[in-house]
């Protein structure tokens, strides 16, 4: 089944499994049934946060970062080994460093995403049938809600295995059920903000293929101006926006309002949603400069955002900053000041807060790969790795309450029976 999926899609989905399940305590199903997915998913999450660095020589800080990402200190070596296997990491050992590690040298690709290699590594490790089905189901339902009965029969899994997958998926807030006129549908909160009924309403009016293709187009170019879509796609997008299946950001300039579209993202905490909203606003403003400039067109949006991240301001003043970036002022992301040397021109400054910096990084992710991993909304690797001296006590720690989940009756029964067998000494 996984052969149908592109390796890069596999890489993304396995990361989502780890990130969805990482905060759940006392939940053995993930280790029992999807160990490879969790293992490589952890590697994917760590790689995402270390991208753009050449090395980490403070292993203690790395342990700290990893623990925020759901990777324990004991697991970190194994996760690094996975990254070594795909040549993303080289570990320089020495007797004196913590855990015998002097430095972790990084080779994580920046000009392309590294999900291809991660997906390939997962395949090399021969994931079980349940793991392959888990990744395939998540990929399916993340594209469009699927009828549960239909999915069950298509996959050819036993009911027990299918239930386990759905249990794991719902526990990680990756998959959810929705009852639509008596039929159970499976959908992914990753791509639907509330309930999937909006998409189902749309499915009454538009072909499913068109919905999937348009959503993919928006994901492939987050912040796409609605004007760039044509014909039936534009008609669909307008409807989807109205019903909440696509997330619009509007920027008004002169008498015209421009609308930029983003794919929805559910399952977020309030503070994470705020950061994502800010990230969308930042990217929408840059898209505005790309598509509707009054002066000079933005040719390299990536560079613009990196300049803002590194310098906390744009290099040159422009006359159209108040129109283009006004939204960011309202959202307290930046401030605009007149250029004292050039009348009629304005400078834009980023308000340098951790939340704004994180939003900026997420805007870059949205621009580059069309999505931002959940863990990036929660954890700021730069803050964790750039601290000098000791790690403990100096970090802005965020207490995390472990989520407990309830197993379905059938899965709980199977789980208990399995433990009982092991207790008896049965080697499964």
């Amino acid at each position: 089944m996984s052969k149908k999926l592109r390796k890069s899609s596999i890489g993304i989905r396995i990361q989502e499994f780890h990130e969805g399940l990482k905060d759940i305590v006392n939940y053995p199903l993930k280790e029992m049934y999807i160990p490879t997915t969790i293992q490589v998913g952890k590697a994917a999450t760590l790689a995402t946060h270390l991208k753009g660095r050449d090395y980490v020589d403070d292993y203690r800080a790395l342990i700290g970062l990893a623990s925020q990402l759901g990777i324990s200190g004991l697991e970190l070596r194994q996760v690094l080994r996975e990254l070594e296997e795909i040549d993303f990491v080289r570990i320089v050992e020495s007797g004196s460093g913590i855990g015998g590690i002097r430095r972790v040298e990084l080779k994580i690709p920046e000009l392309r995403d590294g999900y291809e290699e991660l997906g390939e590594r997962w395949l090399q490790l021969h994931p079980s049938e349940i793991e392959q089905a888990s990744v395939a189901i998540l990929d399916e339902v993340a594209s469009f809600p699927q009828g549960e009965g239909n999915l069950r029969s298509t996959l050819g899994l036993s009911d027990k295995d299918f239930d386990i997958i759905i249990d794991i998926g719902t526990s990680g807030l990756l998959i959810d059920r929705y009852n639509n006129d008596g039929e159970d549908l499976l959908y992914s909160p990753l791509t639907v903000e509330e309930k999937p009924d909006t998409l189902l309403d749309l499915a009454q009016q538009f072909p499913e293929d068109l919905i999937v293709t348009t959503l993919k187009t928006v994901q492939g170019y987050q912040g796409i101006p609605i004007d760039n879509l044509t014909g039936v796609n534009k008609h669909f997008a307008a409807q989807a926006m109205r019903l909440g299946a696509l997330c619009p950001v509007q920027i008004a300039s002169s008498a015209t309002a421009r609308t930029f579209l983003f794919t929805p993202r559910g399952g977020l905490k309030i503070e994470e949603r705020v950061i994502l909203e800010k990230a969308r606003a930042i990217l929408a403003c840059v898209r505005y400069g790309e598509h509707y400039p009054e002066v000079r067109k933005i040719r390299y949006p990536h560079l613009i955002l990196e300049t803002l991240r590194d310098n906390k301001r744009f290099r040159y003043s422009r006359p159209d900053f108040p129109e283009q970036y006004g939204l960011l002022v309202i959202q307290q992301i930046g401030r605009i000041e007149p250029d004292t040397r050039r009348p009629g021109f304005y400078n834009f400054y980023l308000i340098d807060t951790p939340e704004n910096m994180r939003a900026l990084n997420i805007a870059i992710d949205l621009l580059e790969i069309g999505l931002s991993p959940t863990s990036k909304l929660e954890v700021d690797a730069t803050a964790l790795l750039n601290i000098g001296g000791s790690f403990l006590g100096t970090l802005p720690t965020r207490a995390k309450l472990g989520r407990e989940v309830t197993l379905s009756r059938e899965t709980a029964r199977n789980y208990i029976l399995k433990i009982a067998k092991l207790t008896r000494g049965v080697d499964e």
Binding site: D54, R90, E105, P109, L111, R299
Partner: protein, 368 residues
């Protein structure tokens, strides 16, 4: 790499090399310039010696601009004026900003002419003052520098007994030595990168980590490869810093026109291979291309540190492969940069991976 004619000038060459290294230059010695002429019936090219340069100094500025200096050392009686005019031509060939002409004793007309042509003239006394100014201790160096040079020279090239014919394998290894010593300086960097990786790939099974001669050859290969990669990064940085991937791709295939031709040829070859049912995938980009682009991107983003890569490699070669294994931090002092070291290792890892060279050939590097 030595010939008997150059032995007499050797001490002074090594001293000026050290003077330049102390100022951040990477300094290949005795760089031979050759002309390659095709022969009527054979495919291989005949090498014709043009001239040689005693010391070539290459330094990268923190923004990857190159600073090149050419030094000529003479101890014989030949005309200083002629030599200075010759040196100016060599400087132009290498786009060198500066030249240095050294002779134990210098006539006044040379002192007058040199600066007019952008050449600094130095006699023995002046060199000693310069060394003092740079706080270089010359007493111990004269013996150690010479010993090191002799060790390196003894390990360079194929050593055959008189009358002995090289085997086929030895001929392939010889071609690698020849490329690094002669061809390298005459061709474009994009050709150098591809050729070094290709040629080392051909000898991967014949060079071993437990053989110092093999290791030395691999390290010189790494030096040349690193130099070409940094030069190409500088080229990309000079054109468009905001679009590294596209700029590097164009540069790597020899510019837009040559790239277009290459793409067309590759298309024809693909069609041919489909027709001939060849199963191998034909791609314009070599397998290491995406890693190379990533390296170039990191070099550009970390240019201040990347500019020191060759200095680090020089010290690893002299101190760790041949020397006392003193810590890199201690030898380089405030020049030391972990970023430069990590980038160097990344180049070496790519070199080893895509040539199939045994990683042990660079064991001195991995442990750092």
């Amino acid at each position: 790499m030595t010939t008997s004619a150059t032995v007499k000038d050797l001490p002074i060459k090594l001293r000026i090399k050290r003077v330049l290294e102390a100022q951040g230059y990477h300094c290949p010695l005795e760089v031979v310039l050759s002309h390659f002429e095709s022969q009527d019936t054979r495919q291989d090219l005949k090498r014709i010696l043009l001239t040689d340069i005693d010391v070539l100094g290459i330094r990268f500025e923190p923004d990857l601009r190159q600073n090149i200096i050419v030094a000529d050392c003479k101890s014989g009686r030949e005309s200083e004026v002629n030599r200075i005019f010759w040196l100016r031509g060599i400087m132009d060939y290498f786009l060198a900003q500066e030249g240095i002409f050294l002779k134990p004793q210098m006539h006044s007309q040379a002192r007058a002419l040199g600066p007019k042509l952008g050449i600094r003239v130095l006699d023995e006394k002046g060199l000693a003052i310069l060394e003092k100014g740079l706080e270089l201790d010359s007493s111990s160096f004269r013996t150690n520098g010479m010993t090191l040079y002799q060790r390196m020279s003894a390990l360079w090239g194929l050593q055959l007994e008189p009358g002995q014919n090289p085997t086929q394998k030895q001929l392939v290894i010889k071609s690698v030595y020849q490329y690094l010593q002669y061809n390298y300086w005459m061709v474009d960097d994009y050709v150098n990168i591809q050729t070094i990786i290709d040629r080392f790939g051909k000898i991967r099974a014949d060079i071993y980590p437990d053989d110092l001669k093999s290791k030395y050859l691999a390290f010189v290969g790494l030096q040349r490869l690193s130099l070409s990669i940094i030069k190409m990064s500088g080229y990309v940085a000079a054109r468009d810093l905001s679009d590294v991937a596209t700029q590097f791709r164009t540069a790597f295939f020899g510019g837009p026109y040559r790239m277009r031709t290459s793409i067309q040829i590759m298309e024809y070859l693909k069609r041919l291979s489909e027709f001939s049912r060849i199963e191998e995938r034909l791609e314009l980009e070599p397998p290491y291309f995406s890693e190379l682009v990533e390296i170039v991107n990191r070099i550009i983003l970390n240019s201040r540190h990347a500019a020191k890569i060759l200095q680090h490699l020089d010290v690893i070669l002299t101190e760790h492969l041949f020397g006392s294994k003193q810590s890199l931090e201690k030898v380089l002092g405030n020049i030391y940069s972990t970023e430069a070291l990590v980038l160097l290792k990344r180049i070496a890892a790519m070199f080893a991976k895509y040539t199939g060279l045994r990683e042990g050939l660079f064991e001195e590097l991995w442990g750092l």
